[in-house]
Point group: C2
Chain length 353, copies 2
């Protein structure tokens, strides 16, 4: 299997080292061979190549079986014109590879739940998979421009029907692999695009009679994620709503630093990255929590390589580290042994082998 | 002062009775004369007049000094074509009257804070005013249509510069009346409209040097509302982001049924309504919590009529009810005396006189 590594900015470089060590351990234990090739993206690509997404990075990614990404962004590049911002690298690679489905699992680790901002009886038992459409909507719609000498501005929420259909299919299929409950989130009382979305969900629901479907307005979903997070199974929504709701959901369990994500397309090729950002404030200090990155490796093994045993082993190794009491500074936990990136990674590797 | 009452649907009718009684009491105590005129909106207007916003309602509202609204919507009308949906009445009156600023205060009542889904040390001390732009953006932008025989769909996020300027001015002015801290929320790393928004905020900040300004991305704001709600003072954002974030914020204190809102324009005329919806499941049963409506009356007295003493008296009367241990069924509180709409209203009136 050929994997392209995109460390990116800030703590991205450090946690990518952790990913490599875990991949090495998995290769050794299970007799696989992973070839790894590193490329530039984001701010560090701007610094080196004057663009957040060099041609070489796109070309290599197109040849890969899967891609691992650390994180992009940092204040350093915030003043750049919009075409030269680190985020453009991320948006660009999603679009170039057609990674239309962003999978964001939100599930607490029992030993970390007391760090949740929510009361324990509210968050208890929550296990949500948020599926966000990733290559359409307001993010890529044209026109997106000033008009009339800067007196007006428009962005465009654009979807093709088939773009909606494929993500909704993906969501139904995912619900089948879980608890057969799909919540489709839209703003059908206001947006025409949401009305079309809702129609497609209703049409498709006949093809998946074993899946129970709810429709929920995005504002109601933003409330219910907080008041009854354990009422959700799979949630599916368009790009911008998904951006907001998946980030909202990511803080519920109190362990944002632990959460992985996958951006995939139909043939199984995908890009895997932790949900947390580049954390410039702790970059280079060896303090970053590598577990979100390591769990992203597990997602990659499962989704792109169909190595379920190996994925489960990595996840178990991570859980064991927590049970052994290792914590990183981001986890907002007072008990336990505080460790840095290297030590935590070593502990995972040790549990794995 | 001339007030138009729009009870609307579901529990809207019941809680509007409460508003009337409180207005009567205020009039008696402080020697005011309020003339009240009731009109139809939402689903009940569809039933009676075949439109969610009859001409007579618009005309009367345009003559009013302020408007009180109960709630609109209900499953009964969910299958109607989009032009005949209760929500169109609400959207229509906002637009017809130019009510561009939606003010959503989020502040917990000390005696109810234990009903919050958040841990007490997280929600403690939170006092946020969310200001949402209400008549622009995706809600009203054109085109909003299917194309190519339903194979594509677009909605349009449209703003004029002066629409952004007036809401941003309103936000700076509001911050001055509070703790001089403004958080402007956008998605400037993706949307051109957000980049223009951010520029205007930065320009305007020179006119309000006493106000500290932060920019925050909408996804980060959705997280921070949960992890550090007490770090906000005034938050300002465009229409759709404001819809999502203000509803998200409304559940933080655990007393959604208590929250008022105001939709105002520059001359002080405004529409006041509780944040909760029409709650068809408990409509007609006398169970609805009237306090969100009553606190909306207080907001009206303060903002549209500049009757600060009277507004504060109503708010005090509500707080006293809670201190006396009265609770309604929505409040998710086990202690206290459970009362219905009428009893709670009577208690407020009694405390007021
Ligand atoms: C960096 C930004 C453009 C990106 C997005 O909004 O998609 C990020 O927030 C994410 O969710 O991956
Ligand atoms: C009913 C709906 C159209 C409305 C909105 O989205 O503005 C409501 O959610 C609100 O926030 O007042």
């Amino acid at each position: 299997k050929h994997i392209v590594l995109l460390p990116g900015d800030g703590i991205g470089k450090e946690i990518m080292e952790s990913a490599k060590q875990v991949l090495d351990a998995v290769a050794g234990e299970y007799g696989h061979r992973f070839t790894l090739q590193e490329h530039a993206i984001g701010g560090s690509a701007i610094d080196q190549y004057d663009t957040p997404l060099p041609e070489a990075t796109i070309a290599a990614s197109q040849e890969a079986d899967a891609i691992l990404l650390g994180a992009v962004g940092g204040e350093k590049w915030d003043a750049m014109p919009s075409e030269k911002r680190p985020e453009k690298g991320l948006l660009g690679i999603r679009k170039a590879l057609g990674l239309f489905a962003n999978l964001r699992p939100v599930k607490g680790f029992p030993s970390l739940l007391h760090a949740s901002p929510l009361k324990e009886h509210i968050i208890d038992g929550s296990d949500i998979l948020i599926i966000r459409e990733l290559t359409g909507g307001l993010y890529f719609g044209r026109p997106s421009e000033r008009r009339d000498n800067g007196r007006e501005v428009v962005d465009t929420l654009h979807y093709r029907r088939d773009e909606m259909e494929r993500i909704i299919d993906k969501a139904f299929q995912s619900a089948r692999l879980r608890h057969n409950h799909l919540t489709s989130v839209d703003k059908a009382n206001v947006l025409e695009s949401s009305r079309m979305w809702r129609e497609i969900v209703n049409e498709k629901s006949h093809e998946y009679p074993d899946v129970t479907v709810d429709h929920m307005l995005v504002d109601a979903a933003a409330m219910k994620l907080i008041t009854q997070p354990n009422q959700f199974d799979v949630m599916v929504t368009e790009n911008m709503f998904g951006d907001i709701l998946s980030d909202e959901a990511s803080v519920l369990t109190g362990s944002l630093g632990m959460l992985p994500s996958a951006s995939v397309r139909s043939d199984g090729i995908g890009l895997y990255e932790p949900v947390h950002g580049s954390a410039p404030d702790i970059a280079g200090k060896g303090l970053a929590n590598p577990l979100g990155m390591i769990l992203s490796v597990a997602l990659m093994l499962r989704h792109s390589f169909r190595m379920e045993t190996e994925a489960a082993a990595v996840e178990r190794a991570v859980r064991e580290c927590l049970d052994q009491g290792y914590v990183t500074s981001d986890l907002n936990i007072s008990a336990g042994e505080m460790v840095g990136t290297e030590q935590m990674t070593a502990a995972v590797v040790e549990n794995l082998t």
